[in-house]
Symmetry: C2
């Protein structure tokens, strides 16, 4: 009981800060995406593929969450896109408080704020980060059954990117079945199968985000 009560109060505290953060981002006209996925699902690689295209028209910024290293932040900064790192030092998810604090280091006036969460398909789900859109990134190499085995992430999200579709011929998993399994968790999902390597499907995903930015 103590654990459950504490958990609720931690989440209520997070939700309050997330609400404040969302309101502030909306005031500034910033669209916020929270990217969730397993380690190695291709979150940073996807950002490397889409952000340069978006940055031609919009002011973009990234918050990178990792248990250790600032490697991902450096990959984004190399593209000329401002990014800050939250190194959680063991913690398995970002909190709205950690994002709010990190935002102080990003210059204001962003059109798009992308938060790349810690690689974790479970614990990240419970923490609202003030986002407008929650995007689950899942690679076809992880197997088509992942939505069924980790349903909360897919239920809580608006959007799914099925990454590494170029690997489909070499793995025992079909993109079509992955999509069907994700929709069985949440029929309202927008799903983008894509490959950052070949570029297949990237245009639709970029178009979707650009549409959100244009129609603010």
């Amino acid at each position: 009981m103590t654990r459950i009560a504490l958990k609720s109060s931690v989440l209520a505290h997070n939700d309050a800060i997330a609400g404040r953060l969302r309101a502030r981002l909306h005031e500034r006209g910033t669209v916020c995406l929270n990217i969730i996925g397993s380690p190695g699902s291709g979150k940073t690689t996807l950002l490397e593929a889409v952000l340069p295209q978006l940055a031609e028209r919009f002011r973009c910024g990234v918050v990178e969450g990792d248990v250790a290293t600032d490697n991902d932040m450096r990959r984004i900064v190399t593209l000329g896109i401002p990014a800050v790192q939250i190194e959680t030092g063991g913690s398995c998810h970002l909190t709205a408080e950690s994002v709010e604090r990190a935002l102080g280091d990003l210059s204001g006036g962003l059109d798009l704020l992308v938060i790349e969460n810690v690689g974790n398909l479970i614990c990240t789900v419970a923490y609202d980060l003030g986002e407008d859109d929650r995007i689950v990134v899942v690679s076809i190499a992880e197997g088509e059954d992942k939505p069924l085995k980790y349903p909360s992430a897919f239920v809580s999200a608006n959007t799914v990117a099925v990454t590494k579709t170029d690997l489909e011929p070499y793995v025992d998993a079909r993109v079509e079945i992955m999509v069907r399994n994700a929709l069985s968790c949440n029929p309202g999902l927008r799903i983008f199968p894509l490959s950052a390597k070949t570029g297949e499907g990237l245009g639709a995903f970029v178009g979707y985000i650009a549409g959100k930015l244009t129609n603010r």
Copy 2:
């Protein structure tokens, strides 16, 4: 402070049960492996590949941990190997208590008990399950940088299986660099690159486990 104190007491409680469980397994001559890895790293597929070979000589049993579904348990039972499912209902790791309870449903007299943990490379690390050997499963498709980004799992383990090596030609990651990165976290690791699909490297991994069972 409250959170940290609670966490310590939760872990101390877990460690006490894990110690009791380890002692009981040793009394019965059972070797216990705790398999940790990201969603889709290939944990169940690896077990499907190695357990039938081990089951020819040893009595094997499996505890399957999942957030949702008993799909993995059914995959093991299909092989004629006894398995029980712990469906955590949202929790991101197994505890020694949940394993101890589940063991009541597995017939005694096992030579080898394999615990397949929940797909999570972070939260599973802190929970001793009474194992003799902790094996991290990481696929080459996740990227060669994963040991650097999730070091605790590699520091806490004895053994690593680098899976899906058949995908190496199709991904921007090298097995050799993955091995080097894992050893930089923990120079004492035994590392087995392997492919459950082609069978490459499986013999060495099966031989390693068989050796542990023979030299009990």
